[in-house]
């Protein structure tokens, strides 16, 4: 069946459809369900990975990261630059160092493996935080905006680490960095001009233009040993103001991403989970989850006091910033795909990442909800 492209496609899209239906029924993120469905399918029936599946999954990861960058609200970051950069940077650095050093010295993982552990567990899930903000009405408050801005900075740290740590430090890497910076600087000027010139067409030249930039920089990144998601996030951030003014284009890109590409990414990510390790590695999963949360607490909670958050708000902020999902899974899969970590280590890290999306959110919502009334509205 692996040789029959269309049957294989039917299987994968069928799994994606099942995931979508389950996510709608249970009101859970489709990404989370796709990972779980992928894990079940991978362990029960086996999901062989062909080159074209890997390509679609990689394409999905690039687009996902680009769209994540495009969600950054730079006005919010600028308005609260001290708090957001301070909290965001510490939110990345402390779990990165803590989990990396624990993996190296407690678990005797090699340095590259320990780096992957640190990077995977340094992330913060901006989307989880955003959803909680909407439910509590905090998205309209200054506190909520600071937390969101800090999340963007944390993810920037994760993406930079992923792109830099494993790259070879050569003149070509410097050339790639310069190219990314120049393109990121030019895009906010060129892209709107180009979009206005070509207009909205069935042939979607706007999307093709953006994909050309992402693929070219992604190819350059790969050639120098970096990671294609790094320039994707940076270009996304550069275009965020333009996309916020005209949300139709990112919406069309999201349709492409979520309909066809990201399911292959998340299903693949789940399919590589080893069921046996979920049982035998429970203690390590718990260790990494605990370490991520503890290091986030050590770094962020004191800073919330410094920026005069109330006690409850500080705990809530710290717990929300302990969450992670998308970038954590991208980092772990990067490690596995590049043979830096093995499947057992991947399973442990991915499961810890998923647990970090759930556990801190539940604790925050249950015990540390700030005393702000839920936003009531008449529609």
């Amino acid at each position: 069946m692996v040789d029959n492209v269309w049957l294989t496609s039917a299987l994968w899209i069928g799994l994606a459809l099942v995931s979508a239906l389950i996510s709608i029924r249970l009101a859970l993120s489709v990404a989370l369900i796709e990972i779980m469905v992928g894990a079940i399918a991978g362990n029960v029936i086996g999901l062989p990975l062909t080159p074209w599946i890997n390509y679609l999954a990689g394409f999905g990861a690039i687009l996902l990261t680009f769209l994540a960058g495009a969600e950054v609200d730079m006005d919010v970051v600028r308005r609260n630059v001290g708090a957001s950069i301070g909290i965001g940077f510490v939110s990345f650095l402390f779990p990165y160092l803590g989990c990396m050093l624990a993996a190296r010295y407690l678990l005797d993982w090699d340095w590259p493996q320990a780096q992957i552990a640190g990077i995977s567990l340094s992330t913060t899930s901006v989307a989880v935080v955003y959803a909680v903000m909407i439910e509590t009405g905090l998205n309209k408050t200054e506190l909520g905006k600071i937390i969101l801005a800090a999340c963007f900075i944390t993810d920037l740290g994760t993406v930079l680490a992923l792109g830099i740590v494993f790259a070879s430090f050569t003149a070509w890497l410097l050339a790639f960095a310069a190219a990314t910076v120049i393109v990121a600087w030019l895009m906010p000027k060129i892209a709107p001009w180009f979009f206005a010139k070509v207009g909205r067409r069935v042939s979607e030249p706007e999307i093709k233009f953006l994909l050309l930039v992402l693929f070219a920089l992604g190819g350059f990144a790969t050639a120098v040993g970096s990671e294609a998601v790094l320039p994707a996030y940076v270009i996304g951030m550069a275009l965020a103001p333009a996309f916020q003014r005209d949300p139709d284009l990112p919406h069309r890109m999201r349709v492409i991403a979520f309909a066809v590409l990201t399911p292959f990414y998340f299903l693949k990510a789940g399919s590589l989970v080893e069921a046996a390790t979920l049982v035998s590695g429970t203690a390590l999963i718990g260790l990494f989850l605990g370490l991520k949360m503890a290091t986030k607490f050590i770094g962020i909670l004191p800073l919330t006091r410094y920026y005069r958050f109330e006690n409850r708000e500080g705990m809530y902020t710290t717990l929300l910033m302990s969450t992670g999902l998308t970038f954590g899974s991208i980092s772990a899969l990067y490690g596995l795909t590049n043979n830096i970590i093995d499947q057992r280590q991947y399973t442990i890290l991915l499961t810890a990442v998923i647990a970090s999306a759930v556990v801190p959110t539940v604790i925050a919502q249950r015990w540390f909800l700030p005393k702000i009334g839920a936003v009531k509205q008449e529609v």
């Binding site: 996510s23 993120s29 489709v30 969600e71 999201r254 509205q377």
Partner: protein
Amino acid sequence: MFKRIAVANDGSEGGRRALELACDLAKLHRSTLHMISVEELPDFPATIDEVAETKQAENHKFHDVLAHARKIAKAKGVKLQAEVVAGHAASTIVERVKAMKADLLVVGFMGHSALYERIIGGTADRLVRLAPCPVLVVK
């Protein structure tokens, strides 16, 4: 007997039946009637847009639910106060019922399979367990 009645309406057939009965009870007891509708956002989303799009879809849905509810209340000669809140259905409704100090909560019953009830459970079940006031489940 009931000064303040709260009714949970998710736009389903069960929610509509609950609203109609709540209107009748409010008229009978001369109670104030509050309708609570909860926009359920996805848990543990991967992108902000997943949240934003769901919120937009829920906004559209509850715009119609609210309009329909007002029609029902008007036909029955009852004044309806309605609110739409984002959150998790059961916990949000319980919070709002506590905040408004309702004497009675009226909810609709959505029949699920026995397996679904055992594994996931319905909102009505949770509300019966968690609500701080009597709960009337309308079938």
